[in-house]
Amino acid sequence: MAATVQIIEKNGAGGTATDKTSGNIRFKNADNATVDTANPMVKPGAGVDYSFEKWLRMNVSGGTYTEITNVKAYMDGGNGLGTGVTLYAKAVASYATPAEATGTGGYADAFTYTSGSPLTLGAGPYTSTGEKADHLVMMLTVGTTVSGGITPSETLTLAWDEI
């Protein structure tokens, strides 16, 4: 048997969870999990426009396993989001209501986290069901060189060891 794992997006003061394992995550200027064109990122006249944070976390919803360890996240190494778009990531233990980012302090470019150098979310061991490891907090900026429209999707991987 194996653990049944979801990736959830958490929103609002209470951290309402939405299963995003195979559902699109839309970076926008609002705190919600809805994939729509409301509250879009805006090309700035100068500087960058920051998105609201996306708080993502591993959630074991069922299955049978002994323990999970070594939870990590990484990208494919190449930013395919387009010119002027930068994606940032960091690990945070405790949930806070997602806010519009105001800077990049504490973050690193998400595409610097690769399969060879992933972002560690928790060593574990973790057991039973529920949310596990740190939150993966991501936010996106668009700069003055960005083109309009919806960006291509990018490949985020969440990996873990399990016995």
Binding site: K20, S22, L56, L156, T157, W160, E162, I163
Partner: protein, 76 residues
């Protein structure tokens, strides 16, 4: 992509199988599953499961018909 099952045989050896390929660990090593969800947040998300068998610092990674033997820590 099937998720491997890890069991022990009557001699206490760890046995990992994806239902087609079986890997047996003879000795005091460790065996675990390295699982991943690739493409999180997209409609093309895929689950991946590697069987990892480590003995004296050497790891065997098995996924389908592909096997890697290395001392490196490799992620899917």
């Amino acid at each position: 992509m099937p998720v491997h099952q890890i069991t022990r045989d009557e001699h206490g050896h760890q046995i990992g199988s994806d239902g087609t390929i079986t890997v047996s660990l003879i000795g005091n090593g460790k065996m675990f599953k390295r699982r991943a969800i690739k493409g999180v947040g997209t409609e093309g998300a895929q689950e991946v499961c590697w069987l990892v068998c480590e003995l004296d610092g050497v790891r065997v990674y098995q996924s389908g018909r592909n096997v890697i033997v290395s001392r490196a820590d490799i992620n899917p």
